[in-house]
Amino acid sequence: MRIAFTANGKGVEVDARSDEMLLEVLRRDLGLTSVRATCGIGVCGACTALVDGEPISTCLLLAPLVEGRQVTTVEGLGGDDPVQRGFVEAHAFQCGYCTPGMILTAKRLLEESPRPSEEEIRLALAGNLCRCGCYVKIVDAVRGAAA
């Protein structure tokens, strides 16, 4: 079926199956490989995108449900977003696989709460897993981005 939505500010129309997830569409049809398949059950956050500004697990979002909505991935942030800069400055990554999901989740947090406490940061990001264990420096990164 045809599905039309906005991806990183550009109108797109893709041909997808009704039982496919947004994750597959973003990777296969749009080449947005910063969204990454990991758990397949919405617990890890590696496939996070912002849908209408809110973080979503694209592995759990049926593609037709994105019709008419705005989707943002880190490819759409350009590279010089304050949150991206915060991550680079704090060295808040190792393998980098979970980093895009962390950045998008942190970005939304900072919109809601521009000066979050450490506890707020940890709670907001708690659903994003990092097996390399960069959590301490990710908290530093988000604080840095907020400053």
Binding site: A46, G96, L123, C132, G133
Partner: protein, 694 residues
């Protein structure tokens, strides 16, 4: 200034795409042990490439240390999840649908799921014969016990252990167990293969390109230089992306298809591909009443699952780390690597040492309790000192155990109060013997390209090696390039494991830079580290140098539910010289956080030979909110010291630090993970013990 990790631009192995590529899926045995009968693929539509046991029966066997694997299970499936067929199709969906159309006849066989039981005389044999591999990864004396499930037995003897126990005034004896664990690297295993004019090319997330190339050469009966392995960055590995994983299946499919084929594992398949060795460890530790250690006897059973992989190496390291960093005149260790009908177990951050450090360091605290001694003082009294010989006979230099331990104790305020606090000290071996080469190519534009097999899995090795190169070349690090390792272009390297890369490549770089300065365009440097142990006596050189560390924890327990909260976790690690400070800190923090999962909740659950928690909800890994508010560490340095690897040292001290902290509250646990339920049981036992009149 920007980094591809924040823009999402990193291309991992799973992102590799070749023209005309097919997608592969694997059909797995539902039974833990079964004879494989007819494999009927007649219902699979034309155009889908199917690989069956018949296609691979004539290919060579492989195995990093024991040659016990075929590309697909041919005569017998040896674990529930053993690959028995594979398909490649234009889309994953078609491949999936095709899998369901393959019909396999199985005849179930008796199984064994416990390493200790598998050593019984009448236990079902997982393999009939054990042939030691010719792969470089079989670098030490491997001692298979033919006609049993033991594929390697390592022994270490020093002094006369029975005489030692006879002299001892206090003896503690306990059995400890550690659970299987899943690496849960976020990027799944992914491999792409294609054949070009009889030459095999593989893009794969691997820490061991040369060992992989060697095994694939054996499978296909071709020369190693007819195989090219390219290693894109990995989205985490932690030991799981070692040796042959999917590469042999993908290469066979690609050959049959005449097209490139890619396989990316589904998450649940990770639990069927490689986990960490569960272990049982029995410790007997004897001392004089004044605390002087006299004798230690350790027996280990490492459950390697259905295929050995590097299990013999893991069992060997379990064994040679078992004495611990103490002066003990009489030592006896026996460590076995045992087959069972479970998914294979292999390298995992901590590599065998986590298991014996857990047992040994819990036993030290039990001894302290029996002696009514301060666990810190008891350790300090017995620690190995500069110039001492370890139980293997090797002389130790640059010894920093006491410094690490005292730093850890100070970090948690040990001297103010010991309630709810625990300590641990450890030594961890590095891959020995070992060999590495590195080349540097100078370009006209003033940049330098490193040709180096060190694989990047997030550990920051490329950054550290580039910084070392820049320092030696006296140029800005921005002028040093480090492309993805490609076996066609890079010199031989043992592998990216055991926290050795920064150290050994750093040493090879010195020669490479000198060579470059003499020759202009290209410089080459190589380092070979000799050593090794006699597997029957444990004498020799276990580790060229030892990774030294200590841990400390402070906990709070909800004694009504058994829930443990780790308030403060500290690791003190001897770094020698820090090359990349942020990277070093990340390695320590990451090791500690991973260690916390091992300590409190990670376990591969098995029922009737089937993994029952193969997803990231039922198998949990630590999240932000599980990290102690105080997670601290020391990187101890010394002027003029060598670079020491840091990739793993801070993981093994976490479980015993937490276990000993619980012990300080009278809550005694012997098994990992320390579930809330187990803690509640220990609280009950403590109450029971208190009710018994003295």
């Amino acid at each position: 200034m920007t980094d591809p990790r924040v823009t999402g631009a990193v291309r991992y192995a799973q992102d590799v795409e070749l023209e005309g590529m097919l997608e592969a899926r694997i059909l797995r045995s539902p039974f833990p042990h079964a004879r494989i009968g007819r494999v009927d693929t007649s219902a699979v539509p034309a155009g889908i490439v199917v690989l069956t046991p018949g296609d691979v029966a004539d290919l060579g066997m492989y195995g990093a240390q024991i040659k016990d694997q075929t590309v697909l299970a041919c005569d017998r499936a040896r674990f529930a999840g053993d690959p028995v067929a594979a398909v490649a199709a234009a889309t994953l969906r078609e491949a999936d649908e095709a899998l369901a159309l393959i019909d396999v006849e199985y005849e179930e066989l008796d199984s064994v799921f416990d390493a200790v039981e598998a050593c019984d005389q009448d236990a079902p044999l997982v393999h009939d014969r054990h042939n030691v591999s010719e792969n470089d990864a079989a670098y030490f004396g491997i001692r298979p016990q033919q006609g049993t499930n033991v594929c390697h037995r390592f022994r270490l003897q020093q002094g006369d252990v029975e005489a030692g126990f006879a002299e001892a005034e206090v003896v503690v004896e306990e059995t400890f167990r550690t659970a299987g664990a899943q690496h849960a690297h976020m990027e799944p295993h992914a491999s792409v293969a294609q054949w070009q004019d009889g030459r095999l090319e593989v893009w794969t997330g691997t820490q061991t390109p040369f060992n992989l190339r060697s095994d694939l050469a054996g499978v296909f009966g071709i020369a190693e230089d007819q195989i090219r392995i390219v290693c894109p960055p990995m989205g985490g590995a932690f030991g799981a992306k070692t040796f042959v994983r999917l590469e042999a299946i993908v290469a066979c499919l690609a050959r049959k298809a005449g097209r490139p084929v890619r396989a990316i594992l589904e998450r649940n398949e990770e639990w069927l591909t490689l986990n960490r060795h569960p272990a049982e460890i029995r410790v007997r530790l004897g001392a004089r009443a004044d605390g002087t250690l006299l004798a230690k006897e350790v027996e280990c059973w490492a459950d390697t699952g259905a295929y050995a992989d590097c299990g013999p190496g893991v069992a060997q390291k379990m064994g040679f780390a078992a004495p611990g960093p103490y002066r003990i005149p009489h030592v006896s260790v026996e460590s076995r690597c045992v087959y069972t009908n479970l998914p294979p177990n292999g390298a995992f951050r901590g590599y065998g040492q986590m298991q014996t450090v857990w047992a040994s360091e819990r036993a030290m605290d039990m001894l302290a309790e029996r002696l009514d001694a301060d666990p810190l003082e008891l350790r300090l009294q017995n620690l190995l000192q500069e110039g001492d010989r370890y139980a293997t006979g090797e002389e130790l230099h640059d010894v920093r155990f006491a410094e690490c331990l005292e730093a850890a104790a100070a970090a948690i305020g040990w001297h103010e109060s010991r309630q709810g606090k625990g300590l641990c000290v450890l030594m961890k071996g590095m891959q020995t013997p070992s060999r590495a080469g590195i080349a540097i190519e100078a370009s006209d534009d003033g940049t330098y390209t490193l040709r180096c097999a060190t694989a990047e899995m997030g550990q920051g090795a490329r950054r550290a090696i580039s910084l070392l190169a820049a320092e030696l070349l006296e140029v800005d690090v921005a002028r040093v390039r480090f492309p993805d390792p490609d076996t066609d272009l890079v010199p031989y390297d043992t592998r990216t494991t055991s926290s050795r890369s920064t150290y050994i490549m750093g040493r090879a770089l010195v020669d490479a830079v000198r060579d470059l300065k003499e020759n202009g365009r290209r410089g080459y440097g190589e380092v070979e580290i000799p050593g090794g142990l006699d597997p029957d006596t444990g004498q020799g050189v276990a580790s060229h140098h030892w990774h030294q560390g200590a841990g400390a924890a402070e906990v709070r327990v909800d004694e009504e539910t058994g829930k443990v909260e780790v308030l403060h976790l500290h690791a003190a690690v001897y770094a020698g010289r820090v090359v990349n400070r942020a990277g070093a800190e990340l390695q320590n923090e990451g090791s500690m956080i991973m260690g916390l999962g091992t300590t409190l909740f990670e376990t591969v659950d098995i029922a009737d030979g089937q993994v029952t928690n193969a997803n990231l909800s039922d198998y949990e890994i630590p999240s932000f909110m599980d990290v102690p508010i105080e997670l601290t560490h020391d990187l101890l340095e010394r002027d003029g010291a060598d670079v020491h690897g840091l990739g793993e040292t801070a993981l093994p001290p976490v479980p015993p630090s937490v276990g000993n902290a619980l012990g300080s509250l009278g809550i005694h646990v012997t098994d990992l993970p320390i579930s809330a339920e187990a803690v509640l049981g220990a609280v009950d036992r403590r109450a029971g013990a208190r009710e018994v009149p003295a």
